[in-house]
């Protein structure tokens, strides 16, 4: 299993880096141990090699995986003594086991050995799916610029008396928090005759996740909606007809992008009977339930056009535990063709006419305008000015091939966007240092490339050589919608929420836990994460210590008083619909940030019962960043019905009691049990099956130090201060943003970043800035 090998060895490698200086084994290795090694080697060859292979590479019928990991030497010795060889665990115990453990550890198992045997490096990669999508979106934005983040939430609204835009009939100008109105036969506002009126809404829809969305407009009156660009029509209900009042449209949206829109909503005067006027703007986000587009996703005062490709892109290689652009295959190639054609289309229909208009006074001899238009896109896509030869290949030859301008644009875009100069962002050795810095900075923070005019100017003037300049820019960029969306994605990867799939529960046991509630839970988690991350302190520890969350009416009804909103209901309930999330009251006894959030607790539970194993595996792998090998075989959990007297904890303990299960479950269960206070839907409980709940637990850290918890609070407090958890988080952030192993940037990279994280009071945004600066300015390729 080469994929598993890579993943395990890699995780282990990373952990080496930060423990190298502080290794504290229960017994150490030095020259005097040569005898021990020799003994260990001999025993290994005699008793272990047939299953584990000459160099612990595995690959045999009995043991497929390589023998690598992050257990301490003494843990390893104990494990061997108790369980090895499998057919006769008594054959290798005590000093023999110590000797084999020492040999195995030094030769291949330990992290140092792994680094020695397979040194990490920053490998060449093509754009990943997300990077391709984001790069094309920014390439489109090159001519108009990318929107700057603003904190203006809601939709700009202008209300007119009468059915059309007449300045003298303008009655109301305001910001509507959402679009959701039921005017009936009444006037929508003072001075407006209900017989005929016109409301103009404009704003932007901020997508924080890439995927298929359904835009849903419900309207009893005439309306037209533009989307993505004012002038790009999405829904045309110019004609109000019969009882057709619901309008749905699927669109692919890209994370971190604002899609400008406008709605012209008109109640016309008519001789016949008029329907009551009502209108709402909703969406069905990916994996979500239909809801009004919430205020937090509505932005006003920026109508910069946005473009996203609709083409589906195949998933990227994740064998390293994070997405990397490594696979070169037909499916990927075809998707780049489709994406390039799609971009060619929008370039021809939107960008080119605008460019021509803007340069209408320039000479167009020999289609000079078309050539300069295409050259500008190609230079942006290639992240570099193009010389005569490249211009000939990517522009002139394509223009000369056809008299049709549209076709020329399609040709040029197709060949350019399938070129390795675009698809391999870091094949830029020829470029000046400023360009290389900026290429990496934008790739790290935005999954994209430098396209804004002001940035390209700085690059061309070579003004971005210094680390301080890059840091200054990174500090600005990290606030950008794109960087924040990438961070949100990273947090979800870290919390492993993608693995939950559709969360459903036994209706008889948990009435009311339905798709709508799950959707609110997801939104609550997102809002909480966003709030923590974007706050001034951006404090990692708050993710485990916060005693508040975000709630909705539905959530407080289901989860009780600790889920009531912080403030009493707002003055004008019409303005903030009940589905809108609000910050909850505090509950310092039962709420510990994401750790106890019902979205996670229910996602890591079965249909009827909790799953301490899922929770424990999650904490071990994702929160503490440790490696666990897969179970020896697939097990079906013991049915609660067969053990009516046992609590979940007791059942799990029973099933995982054999020695060879305990190798891993001693780590897993001790963490999972500490969350037993939260049932299968994440509701707090203090007993199960009429027995008081035992939520004590333990954890042995990377250095072999054991910590015990008496319940969720201890666990939360421990995680917030745990070196393993902090390092695990930094490592995940690095992998996600840079898409390379941290150790490839030097053996001390991870330790350095983690120390820095600590010094900055665990500020997540500052961590991302430091990662970006490091990735931008310390690429190992620079030294070649």
């Amino acid at each position: 299993m080469p994929q598993k090998y890579i993943q395990q060895s890699f995780c282990a490698l990373v952990s080496l880096v930060f423990t190298a200086g502080t290794m504290a084994f229960s017994f150490s290795l030095d020259r005097n141990d040569e005898e021990l090694f020799a003994k260990g080697a001999a025993i290994y060859r005699a008793q272990c090699v047939s299953c584990h292979g000459e160099k612990g590479e595995g690959g045999t019928d009995k043991y497929a995986e390589p023998l690598i990991g992050d257990a301490t030497l003494s843990e390893l010795a104990k494990l061997i003594s108790e369980t090895m060889p499998e057919e006769n665990p008594d054959a290798c115990v005590g000093e023999d086991a110590d000797a084999v453990a020492a040999f195995v550890f030094k030769e291949f198992y330990g992290e140092e050995a792994q680094a020695r045997n397979k040194p990490p490096r920053a490998a060449l990669a093509r754009l990943t799916g997300s990077q391709l999508r984001q790069s094309l979106a920014d390439l489109y934005s090159h001519f108009r610029g990318t929107p700057k983040r603003n904190d203006k939430r809601g939709v700009r609204a202008i209300y007119f008396d009468g059915p059309n835009w007449k300045n003298e009939k303008k009655k109301i100008e305001r910001i509507d928090p959402v679009i959701h109105f039921d005017f009936g036969h009444d006037s929508p506002g003072e001075g407006i005759d209900p017989k005929a009126f016109y409301i103009y809404w404009e704003g932007g829809i901020l997508a924080t996740e890439t995927g298929r969305y359904e835009i849903v407009v419900r309207s009893t009156c005439s309306f037209v909606m533009d989307f993505g660009k004012i002038g790009r029509q999405l829904i045309n209900n110019h004609v109000q007809s019969g009882d057709k009042t619901e309008f749905r449209q699927m669109v692919t949206l890209t994370a971190g992008r604002v899609y400008p829109f406008k709605i012209d909503f008109i109640q016309r005067e008519r001789k016949t009977e008029k329907p009551p006027a009502n209108v709402s703007l909703s969406w069905v986000p990916p994996n979500g339930a239909e809801q009004l587009i919430p205020t937090r996703n509505l932005v006003y005062d920026d109508l910069t056009p946005t473009f996203s490709i609709e083409s589906e892109l195949p998933p990227d290689d994740r064998s390293y535990g994070f997405e990397r652009g490594l696979a070169i295959d037909r499916q990927w190639d075809e998707s780049t063709t489709r994406a390039s054609l799609e971009f060619g289309q929008i370039a021809a229909t939107e960008l080119w006419p605008e460019y021509r208009k803007k340069h209408k006074n320039d000479s167009n001899e020999n289609r000079a305008l078309l050539r300069s238009f295409l050259t500008e896109i190609v230079e942006t896509a290639f992240r570099s000015p193009v010389g005569e030869e490249l211009k000939e290949r990517y522009v002139d030859k394509q223009v000369d091939a056809t008299d049709d301008d549209i076709e020329a644009i399609q040709r040029s875009m197709l060949v350019s966007l399938k070129s390795p100069r675009f698809l391999y962002p870091l094949a830029d050795q020829e470029q000046a240092i400023s360009a290389r810095h900026a290429n990496r900075l934008t790739l790290t923070l935005f999954d994209s490339l430098p396209t804004d005019d002001w940035l390209i100017k700085k690059i061309r003037k070579n003004e971005l050589e210094s680390v301080d300049k890059i840091r200054g820019m990174a500090q600005e960029f990290v606030k950008d919608y794109r960087a924040q969306a990438k961070l949100k994605y990273m947090l979800h990867e870290w919390l492993n929420t993608k693995s939950f799939g559709e969360i459903t529960k036994n209706e008889a046991l948990y009435p009311g836990f339905d798709a709508g509630l799950v959707s609110d839970l997801r939104d609550s988690l997102d809002a909480f994460l966003e709030d923590v991350v974007t706050s001034e302190s951006s404090d990692f520890r708050q993710l485990f210590l916060a005693d508040w969350t975000y709630t909705s009416d539905r959530l407080s009804q289901f989860y009780g008083d600790s889920w009531l909103p912080l403030e009493s209901a707002p003055a004008d309930p019409a303005k903030v619909p009940s589905s809108q999330l609000r910050r909850s009251v505090s509950d310092p006894q039962k709420r510990f940030g994401v750790l106890t959030h019902p979205f996670l607790m229910s996602g890591m539970s079965y249909h009827d019962t909790t799953s301490p194993i899922h929770r424990g595996v999650f904490l071990t792998r994702f929160v503490f960043g440790r490696t666990l090998r897969p179970p020896n075989e697939a097990f079906t959990p013991l049915s609660p019905d067969l053990h009516p007297d046992l609590t979940t904890r007791e059942r799990v303990a029973l099933q995982t009691s054999p020695d060879n299960c305990q190798v891993c479950h001693t780590k897993i269960n001790g963490l999972g049990f500490a969350l037993e206070n939260f049932d299968a839907v994440g509701k707090f409980r203090s007993q199960e099956r009429s027995k008081p709940l035992d939520s004590s637990g333990k954890y042995v850290d990377r250095n072999g130090k054991e910590v015990s918890f008496s319940g969720p609070r201890d666990l939360a407090e421990y995680i917030a201060s745990s070196d393993d958890a902090q390092t695990g988080f930094v490592n995940r952030a690095f992998q996600h943003f840079v898409k390379q192993p941290a150790a490839a940037f030097g053996p001390k990279t991870l330790r350095e970043l983690t120390e820095n994280f600590r010094k900055n009071d665990y500020n997540i945004n500052k961590l991302i800035v430091e990662i970006a600066v490091l990735a931008a300015t310390r690429d190992p390729a620079f030294s070649k």
Binding site: A123, R126, G242, K244, R268, R270, T272, R330, L390, Q429
Partner: protein, 445 residues
């Protein structure tokens, strides 16, 4: 389309490569639509707006011995293959002004929904309450493997305004479901040939790409070159496959699937109407030859359309002119010219179809196609929907052509029923059943 046995689907299911398929299907013994399949029948609705000048449109004599007046004179070559149908009236009442009901009920035969779009007179209205006959027949044809085609129907337009309202939509997929015609020939081209063309485009640029790979290789470290080499090897392989696909297509002379060439850079502007009309009609003929569809609509502008036919020396918009009283001689003469120009378009399409042999069958494509030229009004300045100008050309429906007919004053629903019946899918009623009691019109076959 899970039940499809279209060419493409057949290829996919049997696993024949695209290249080999092109060879196979060029052999007559494997040709489609031979053998058991009935003859192909096609039906095209051509719309021009604002009524006609009846005195220069309708033949005086009824029967085979009829004369062509000025407006119909461009169809002289097709006299034996055409039929004029006087006395067919759009009797649909209800909401909407004359123009709205004129176009919205023309192919649907049913009232408009109440709505908020107010015309020049009458009450406001919304969309049609029912499906139009073209879409209805398309559904019928698509449901039968023997008559199923890639698109079923194609909706062409010429300078249809960028406005979705009752005046700009003739075709309906169902109640409240107007179908937007495609009035940009390049967009229609993409719909018909986009994929084939994109493959050709790809084939023609890949060579430039592989050359540049070698240069980029020099920019990266030796240990990383392997990835780029794999990449370029794959691109070369694709290039070879595309080349042989294109070569094969050339060799087998796959005429039906030949991609037509289009004049470059024709903007959607009033003055380009004649050229756009030609381009669209050429695309229609090509798509019929390739059997992409058997039903089409061809909508020139819209109800109340107002093209300025400067190419005829007429600077005023058609709709405005159509309101002028008959006593305005200049307007009257202009309207005759304008309608004659519309007729020329019908004649051009008829000519193209007549010149094209029916693929896989005897005769010409016109022998198996009926063009139905129609209008939202009988006469512009009266807004009457009596005597809707229905002129049929071609043998698709199997009617007895070469005659001028007068039905007195019959609801046009009955004629819509004739279309269904003649296409092999008779209906007890079409549109509002109140107008269908007398069944399809008689004497057409």
């Amino acid at each position: 389309m899970p039940s499809s046995v279209s060419r493409r689907e057949f290829i996919r299911k049997t696993g024949i490569s695209a290249a080999a398929a092109n060879l196979m299907f060029s052999l007559p013994s494997l040709g489609w639509a031979n053998g058991a399949a009935p003859r192909k029948q096609r039906l095209v609705f051509i719309f021009s707006p604002n009524g006609v000048i009846p005195d220069h449109f309708w033949p005086e004599k009824i029967g085979a011995d009829f004369e062509l007046k000025r407006i119909l004179s461009p169809l002289a070559d097709f006299k034996s293959q055409m039929m004029t149908m006087h006395g067919v009236c759009n009797r649909i009442k209800g909401d909407g002004d004359g123009h709205m009901r004129g176009i919205g009920c023309l192919l649907t035969g049913i009232e408009l929904f109440p709505g908020d779009v107010q015309g020049g007179s009458d009450t406001p209205a919304g969309w049609s309450k029912g499906i139009s006959v073209d879409q209805h027949l398309k559904n019928k044809l698509q449901a039968d493997p023997l008559t199923q085609t890639r698109f079923g129907s194609l909706e062409f337009g010429v300078m249809v305004p960028e406005r979705a309202d009752t005046w700009t939509r003739m075709s309906y997929a169902g109640p409240n479901q107007p179908v937007a015609p495609i009035d940009n020939p390049y967009q229609m081209f993409d719909k018909l040939y986009g994929q084939t063309k994109n493959r050709a485009l790809l084939a023609s640029v890949l060579d430039d790409l592989t050359d540049d790979f070698r240069k980029v290789e020099q920019l990266i470290s030796v240990e990383d070159r392997r990835m780029l080499q794999d990449h370029v090897a794959m691109v070369r392989e694709i290039e070879k496959e595309l080349q042989s696909e294109i070569e094969l297509r050339k060799k087998t002379g796959d005429v039906g699937h030949a991609v037509p060439t289009m004049p470059a850079n024709v903007e959607e502007q009033n003055d380009n109407i004649p050229q756009i009309s030609r381009m669209q009609m050429d695309l229609m003929v090509n798509s019929f030859a390739a059997d992409f569809a058997r039903i089409a609509t061809f909508q020139i502008t819209n109800s109340v359309g107002s093209p300025k036919m400067k190419w005829l020396g007429i600077d005023e918009g058609h709709h405005h002119l159509s309101h002028e009283p008959d006593t305005n001689e200049v307007a009257y003469e202009s309207l005759i010219k304008i309608n004659t120009w519309y007729c020329e378009q019908v004649a051009y399409l008829a000519k193209r179809l007549a010149e094209t042999p029916e693929p896989g069958g005897p005769g010409s494509m016109l022998d198996n196609t009926t063009l139905v030229w129609t209008n939202e009004l009988g006469k512009g300045n009266s807004h009457t929907r009596d005597n809707i100008p229905f002129v049929l050309v071609g043998g698709g429906l199997g009617f007895k052509m070469g005659q001028s007919m007068d039905f007195g004053k019959v609801p046009h629903n009955r004629l819509l029923m004739n279309f269904c019946e003649a296409m092999g899918h008779p209906e007890k009623a079409f549109g509002n059943p109140d107008f269908c009691a007398d069944g399809p019109l008689t004497g057409l076959t």
